[in-house]
């Protein structure tokens, strides 16, 4: 006769889910898929490398570098093995893209901020200009300028033609090519920012036409476009008085060979960037698709999303002496960092 033991039954019932959890269920993919914008590629690479080193028995995440907009488009394309699990971008997901995400079934998105990235106008150490305004840069570099109800080709040849207080050096610039996120920031914040001050341009209703007039650069040989990572080298090899458009990370990496030019009176430093005083700053975001996280019931695409997100916002990554700081990101304020850690730990969903 079997003795009925309720305690045993209770123990079995309690342990059953744990046992099921311990079973090696099938995952649809054994490797995280990360898409990243070009401007945050250094950050993305650092995070992927740190994740690979930290979790020794996992496949290194697959990292794809595309533009910010393309990264978000791919992230929002849908749910499934073929779509990315994480996106690292230098642009916050717009509401329209969040709607696209939702329409494609990507409804559970976790958004965390990693740090602040900045674009810097730099010159070789010991060279002339200390301060430029966004308007002066737009005036110097735009292909056309408005005059008497029409746009005329830009024929300015020296900085002093724009303002008497500026150097007499010829206008020359080295800037990253269109694929780079730094170029996107330069177009958005410096060229459009300078253009916004011009009444004749501000009067144009169509955003597309206005933007094309603002960001199209002169093609008379005064501007050299190179790959983003090649800008510091090209700037160092350029004639005296040339300005370069680089990221804050590249400025730090130059070891003092390149110096920043103050923009609208504000010099880019960790303090001015973190304090929101420097204008050409953008928050770097990490988006995680929570629907892809494999749960205890075996539902999901891949393991590691939560761990990757938590590591990316940890103090050892985003803190003042963290990994990302060494790659040129300026840490967020302590309160915001704490909020991001909380979001990552709880996998709180984005609500836009």
């Amino acid at each position: 006769m079997t003795v009925f033991r309720p305690a045993l039954l209770a123990t079995a019932l309690l342990l059953a889910p744990l046992a099921a959890q311990g079973q090696e269920g099938s995952v649809l993919r054994d490797q995280l898929h990360v898409v990243s914008s070009g401007s945050s590629h250094a950050v993305s690479e650092a995070l992927v490398e740190a994740f690979t080193q930290r979790y020794a028995n996992v496949m290194p995440p697959q990292l794809e570098i595309v533009g910010s907009a393309a990264a978000l488009e791919r992230f929002c394309a849908g749910v499934g093995v073929d779509t990315p699990d994480l996106a690292i971008t230098s642009r916050r997901i717009p509401r329209s893209m969040a709607d696209t995400c939702a329409a494609n079934g990507v409804t559970d998105i976790v958004e965390v901020q990693l740090g602040l990235g900045a674009v810097v106008i730099a010159m070789r150490s010991g060279e002339g200009m200390r301060n430029l305004t966004t308007r002066q840069i737009y005036t110097a570099l735009a292909a056309e300028y408005p005059a008497e109800n029409e746009f005329r080709p830009n024929t300015l040849s020296s900085w002093s033609q724009i303002s008497a207080g500026l150097s007499a050096a010829p206008i020359r610039a080295v800037i990253p090519d269109q694929r780079s996120g730094t170029r996107g920031l330069f177009n958005d914040f410096i060229m459009e920012g300078g253009c916004r001050e011009v009444k004749a341009v501000r009067m144009i209703f169509s955003a597309a036409f206005r933007v094309s007039k603002c960001v199209t650069l002169r093609g008379d040989g005064r501007i050299r476009e190179v790959a983003s990572e090649a800008v510091p080298g090209a700037l160092l090899a350029s004639p005296a008085g040339t300005i370069g458009v680089i990221s804050y990370a590249q400025l730090l990496e130059s070891g003092g060979n390149l110096v920043p030019v103050a923009l609208n009176g504000v010099t880019p430093t960790a303090a001015t960037i973190a304090g929101d005083d420097y204008d050409v700053v953008r928050t770097i975001y990490l988006y995680a698709k929570r629907q892809h996280s494999r749960n205890a019931q075996g539902v999901g695409v891949v393991r590691g999303i939560r761990e990757f997100t938590a590591d990316a916002v940890s103090e050892s990554a985003g803190g003042p002496s963290g990994l990302l700081t060494r790659h040129g990101l300026v840490p967020l304020a302590p309160v915001i960092r704490a909020q991001q850690r909380e979001i990552a730990a709880r996998q709180t969903l984005l609500n836009r």
């Binding site: 717009p94 329209s96 958005d188 459009e192 916004r196 144009i204 209703f205 169509s206 933007v211 929101d276």
Partner: protein, 205 residues
């Protein structure tokens, strides 16, 4: 004849100088006031109170004399704090101010869309709002930001854009958004202009 003229001139001189003379005498003979100097009465009439609220409200949206003076004295810094300036970077321009005086004074501002915003414009506006929030935490400033954020939100609605914005401050504050479909049919006048442009293009070809 000459004597008459002299008499006339003398009379005129006396007539002109006599008030000054009497004023001087009056100053010399002014009696001492025994009553101490008084403060201005603090109690305003209802009309005065309403008038003051009206001015304050008008100033707070950057339309009053006080706001203009501040803008002149602080230049750029004050300009950036102005509601109109924020509306400007949101792509809206002030079209009409409707102001009525009476038992219930009214103040309505009508803004029309002056330009469509680019992605960078939106980002710039969001930053301007963040900075505004840092420097102006008052409820009225928060209301101003809410209006601008409302425009941004409304413009996110697919296929629609905010065409007109009416901000009524008095007698009862409310904001009216007029949304129009982005591909709305053209009115007769706009159609005629478009046809004229097309005809001109054909002729140029």
């Amino acid at each position: 004849m000459m004597t008459h003229r002299r008499i006339l001139a003398a009379l005129l001189t006396v007539a002109l100088l006599s008030p000054l003379g009497s004023l001087a005498r009056a100053q010399n003979a002014a009696p001492t006031v025994q009553v101490p100097l008084q403060d201005l009465p603090v109690i305003e009439t209802l009309t005065e109170q309403v008038g003051r609220w009206f001015s304050d409200l008008r100033d707070s949206v950057g339309l009053g004399r006080r706001a203009l003076n501040i803008a002149r004295s602080h230049g750029e810094a004050a300009r950036t704090d102005d509601f109109n300036w924020l509306m400007g970077i949101a792509g809206f321009k002030l079209k009409n101010i409707e102001s009525t005086l009476g038992l219930f004074p009214g103040l309505t501002l009508e803004f029309g869309q002056a330009r469509a915003l680019s992605e960078a414009d939106r980002e710039y506006l969001e930053r301007a709002l963040r900075r505004h929030a840092r420097h102006h935490p008052s409820p009225f400033s928060a209301l101003q930001r809410m209006i601008i954020s409302g425009i941004l939100e409304a413009n996110e609605i697919q296929g629609f854009s905010v065409e007109k914005l009416t901000v009524t401050l008095l007698p009862f504050p409310y904001v009216k958004f007029t949304l129009a479909p982005s591909d709305a049919p053209l009115g007769p006048e706009a159609s005629r202009v478009l046809q004229a442009i097309e005809r001109l293009n054909e002729r140029l070809r």
